[in-house]
Symmetry: C2
Subunit: 377 residues, 2 copies
Amino acid sequence: MRLVFGSERNKKVNGGQSTVHGITIFCGLWTVDKNFNKRSKLKIKNTCISILILFSQCISPNSNITDRPDMNNISLAIHGGAGNYTLSDLSLEEQKEYQQKLQEALDRGYDILEKGGSSIDAVEAVIRILEDSPLFNAGKGAVLTSNEKIELDASIMRGSDLAAGAVGGVTIVKNPISAARKVMENSPHVLLMGRGAEAFAKEQHLEIVDPSYFFTEKSRMQLQKIKEEEKLKLKNSEKKDKKFGTVGCVALDKNGNLAAGTSTGGMVNKKFGRVGDSPIIGAGTYADNRTCAVSCTGHGEHFIRNTIAFSVAALMEYKGLSLEQAVDYVVEEKLKRTSGTGGLIAIDKEGNIAMKMNTPSMFRAYRNTKESKVFIF
Amino acid sequence: MRLVFGSERNKKVNGGQSTVHGITIFCGLWTVDKNFNKRSKLKIKNTCISILILFSQCISPNSNITDRPDMNNISLAIHGGAGNYTLSDLSLEEQKEYQQKLQEALDRGYDILEKGGSSIDAVEAVIRILEDSPLFNAGKGAVLTSNEKIELDASIMRGSDLAAGAVGGVTIVKNPISAARKVMENSPHVLLMGRGAEAFAKEQHLEIVDPSYFFTEKSRMQLQKIKEEEKLKLKNSEKKDKKFGTVGCVALDKNGNLAAGTSTGGMVNKKFGRVGDSPIIGAGTYADNRTCAVSCTGHGEHFIRNTIAFSVAALMEYKGLSLEQAVDYVVEEKLKRTSGTGGLIAIDKEGNIAMKMNTPSMFRAYRNTKESKVFIF
């Protein structure tokens, strides 16, 4: 039966899935059985019953078609960080800058998927573009630590086999997401930290840069402002940082494989080698072909304590929720328990997308076979 | 109704819970209502109906008594690492050494709980004893990295409010579990790494030692042996390391609060700042008063990729499994998906304990109001 589906998948549309597959199987068997008039009546009767059973299984609401995603349902979502921006915080020009960069990254990832590339390739390519842009808090433009350094974290995960890689606290690797991928593919480990992760990145011939490459005037001013506010002992609620700024991507490719990745500079003014949720598989990133792929952004400590990324998958697998229901519960209810703020993007094995935050803004965009959209607020 | 339960809790035994509570409530209401013969028949009738309804609720299988744990159901479980030891690998004397140290740690933790101490105090105290012993792969006696260093990871979590703390890759902190607790209590963060974590530990006045303190002749020989095996290109399956050796503890205190903690030296011969599951909340450690507390040991990468510790809690909360069912599924089925090896200990809000591994051995022990047991195989 599996082979029959190949060419029919092009015709599949949302909501019409079961019917299309039912007809396909019926036609397939008709061809095979066209010489049956030469055989016994009993055989014909049995075949008809078999066809009816197969057909009824395929149009049943309990059909297991959902276990095999539509090969053409390629789909991609990206984020450039949840935060507290309101309409007045960003000029029209700034908004346009963000929108253009998100669109560029989105189109690059979608192009890979459209040409039959893997979701993991799309995720890495998208995040590299966002890391290279000074607009976001990842790679170039990342926020500064309290002692004016840059410490970058990233992770990536493949839904087909739960392979995962991550790096934390790297200071000289131009694209931490590529280092995370190398950890996944070329090491027996999942998470490498600090100098060790950098030595591994060098061994893998990844591009190494001087730490000064990552610095921007904006990030220096941001740190200075936060430090001044701390001196004045202003409450966080009065002058809170506008920028969480992590970047991330989730994708579903033509082979039905999900992938997720996340990259960040962490919290501005962070101390003591603080690591957030971005390099933590299960907290900031998760992907499993059985359920969904998730990338998070926000106040990382809450995403770790609530195991947010995996919780979306767990609610789908263990409680039977849809992607949308699982994401709603996690962002609206689960994060509330510890007063966590932020958001996430997620994509399921059918190509459905959910993007949700409990902050005023989240740079985000998605593209599938039907539409392409970019949002900030 | 809540107040009535206090003195009766001493009498509670497994399996008799609902009945004991039912009688308590009945007697309580009888005392309140003994002057009712002076009042109207209608009032007596209504009171009787109320008593019956309350009584039936308490003995019903659907009673929500499980939401309020028995104040005296204190319970503690510990592990000293899953591994590949078989009976022939350990002399009787060695077995006795391990058993004595596990018993000492178990009794110290239980003593804290019995005197009304918190589960987080018990977890920290137990793990400090195991870290201080050269028998286990945590603190003194930890395994060596490929460049003959010690890099220690630990995490701790409190089930009442999901507060958590962790350190990764520390080299001079005598008791990493205490550093993890300080991160939880005295920083806004969850995970601190490397030099930063050490600077924080110093600021918190934790005991700092020279890295040589952690070294043992056994760990040096272990590294040498592994390196020789690598040179000979022996397959892991032929000469695999006998020692995962992480230590951990889960506890339930008199106030119904759960806690979990884990501490490790990681994998022998590890490179590139590799971090395993032990400092990762959700992977190696999890605690939530709503469900359970979990501490894991094993091949850490698989525990991260499968978000093992939180999965036990998720299966209980989202799928309604019992602790035992959830632990069975996670160790027998979930870990299998990536061919992961190891084990875990878990305790639920009722004080039930589950200890399971898919390796030949796991040093483990538990103690509750009824018994105290230590196991190796």
